[in-house]
Amino acid sequence: MNLIFDKCRRGARGVNPPPCDVPDEPAIPDSLRRAEDAHLCELSEPEIARHFHELSTRNFGVDSGFYPLGSCTMKYNAKVLEAIARRPGFAGLHPLLAKVAGGGPYAQGALEVLASLEERLCEITGMGAYTLQPLAGAHGELTGMLLVAAYHHARGDAKRTEVLIPDESHGTNPSSAATAGLEVVSIPTDPSTGMLDLAALKQHLSERTAAVMLTNPNTLGIFHAHIREVVACAHEQGALVYYDGANLNAVLGRFRPGDAGIDVVHVNLHKTFGTPHGGGGPGAGPVGVNGRLEPFLPGPRPVRCGDGQIRLEDAGGKSIGPVAPFYGQFGVCLKALAYIELLGGDGLRAVSEAAVLNANYLRQALKDDYELPFDHPCMHEFVLSASRQAANGVHATDIAKGLIEAGIHPPTVYFPLIVEEAMMFEPTETENRPTLDRFIDVMRALARRAKEDPGSLQAAPRNTAVCRPDETGAARRPDLCSA
């Protein structure tokens, strides 16, 4: 479809501001003015509504159909959460109101949201304190790494600059460590268990190790049962352990990183707590720590006072400093808290139970048709390989496109990197059995088609508005802006 700019007609008008009610004339000298008006859109509201309506019909969301994108936790986003976040008492609130005397009362409800969410996250993960500032999962990782570095630095242990990271981890883990100025050491996965290779870990732990960074269950959907040993080894060597909460949806009420002695955790509110992903954000990545790291947290943080009021307390001298302009992704935090309160303790446990049940149900049904690199019961997600199909010229991406043809969003493909032709499925707890059964039928049919008619899969999808864009060309001659 045409770009919105191609639809513009000079002089067409959309929404106008009110008329001017003050006598003062503009007073910006020409020398400071732009030479000509910015060529922004020129269309009326009805035309714009049609344009964005049409764009929306070319998109696929959770309400559109099954979205088992591994490691992304594409669960149903409850409508009431949006209604809550739209309330003018939250949406219209200026963040600095909470910082001025006299403005504070208007912000008490919002501060209560922040304080309550911190408390709930502490209980859910077993950590001692949280900062809600980190603005996404990767930003949480970065914040966590800054905390780790600050901790060692404060202890005069500045040589600890290495972070040990399993090779199956999300790419953000090494990237976040590097962004924080730390060095990355990759630790292999034990091919027999799909878990972190403990021996290899021990071998790399040293007085240069700042932290071990892991995800549990990991990106293969396998729970590191030996996590206490991992923590013990790290701590013994003076290193900290970072827990990437990307897969927390698997273990709510079944495992808390704090109980295993983990030092730093980040939680992806948008994954675990039902807030919408928005086509790529905003997310939120609060970071929890145990007592020894608390002094390093960014500030300000909400504190409950004796009078029942909540005030903001500035960070102390050890703080790494702010990582966000204010208190984090407040709107996302608000929805996450409402979700937690809706479900309650039992509901959150039920979430993980259904998420893990759904994943195992699929895994069990598909393991005859696709290669299963690690044949253990999985947690909330699992990885298949299209290696058998690849032998016939049908790759993971072709299976993905075949799913698109069937109206289903594909799994994550070619990740984790350690599995050839990887396809990573995460059905989430909000999918019903008929949906899973239909998915199984489609996947089996695709496996048959890969054998019998590989060409047709290589040509898929045939029923979408576009088919297999030229990504190489796009990268070679980047066209990022319409002239």
């Binding site: 070319r58 939250f90 077993g126």
Partner: protein, 443 residues
Amino acid sequence: MNYIPHTDDDRAAMLEACGLESADALFAAIPESLRPASWNLPEGKSEQEIAGAFAGLAAAGEQTPPSFMGAGYYDHYIPAAVDELSSRSEFLTAYTPYQPELSQGTLQAIYEYQTHICRLTGMDAANASLYDGGTALFEACRIALRKGKRNRIVVDGGVHPQHVRMVRTHAERLGVEWDVLPAHPGPADREALMARVDGDTAAVVVQNPNFYGAIDDHSDIAARCREHKVLLIQSVNPHALTLLKTPGETGADIAVGEGQGLGNPLSFGGPSLGFMAARQKLVRHMPGRLAGRTTDRDGRDCFVLTLQAREQHIRRRKATSNICTNQAHCALRAHLYLSLLGREGLKQTALLCHRRARYAHRRLTAIDGIETVTPEPFFHEFAIGLPRDAGEAVEALAARGVIAGVPLKLYDPEHPRRLLVAVTEKRSKQDIDLLAAHLEDLL
């Protein structure tokens, strides 16, 4: 249970299919010893109860009086169509557009957003968004550090102090030599800045309008930077860009800024929207997602995420940035906002803000004892000096039904009497007159 579709029958049948006897068996991989030490969470509640409880929490905020708070976060009017269209579930509940066949809506919207940002800033290329203005500035500095192999960054005294703090937090371990000039409300201190631009400098950071609202022309600084192969990073306000010399015209290399005011609610400070645009030569150094136009197998125009080789899921520790999830939905809202207001509407909005701010400035500085701090020309915000503590004045005026602005001691304790006053198109002449009357009465 809320949002879980399984009936008891479903659950039993599925467990059986998995060969499991109970739901607990699903968690056999977690050793007994690792079971939670505590799980003190309340019982779940009905939607009605939760909606009621949060309505109660929001109630106080709904009583907020007319406010002149700004300091980078502005209360602009958001057309209803922004909410309505952006909240269509196809946009709202989608993931990052990894599968272009199912994501043309998001991808084309991002491409169009990038185009809008380029046209506003006069730059060649923009990315799909960053978290906020502060992290955008950090990422811009990283480009300079990586590109120039130099480690000194000079920051003008008009740059948003919280952005400076954030950048320093993020860059703490990157060995940067920071040279942050003292805060000052007027145009950039040429002499000081020029003196610092040399072969060891990676970047100079300036802001326009600056934190105090003052408008400047940084072309001379840009020329000096070019001479020494120093990158000029300019932080800008998107509404002001409809009026002011653009980063492109100025000769800046990277433009960044906070885009919250473009159709995103204040929302207590988040989510907001960091935008970044740069010269063509820097495209492959840009962090974050980029949507690019290409053609599909049948030759149809279409859109994809591109230059992913820079990104962490490919490059891991060598990625240009760790940013992954960004603020796509806020960018969609910004694009909708820019489309709806359009060329004329956004400019008229900016002019209205500017004119009302001038009126407010005239009214307030006419009051005995109030001094000008931000010199003219300013855009839609200005600092004034009160004859008493500004925080106390804000408190006293809040009780009278107006939020007078931001006491600058929050950022600069050395100036406890300074007040920063922002005026958007939502603050009418009547609101301004009310502020002036109360302030006059108070002083």
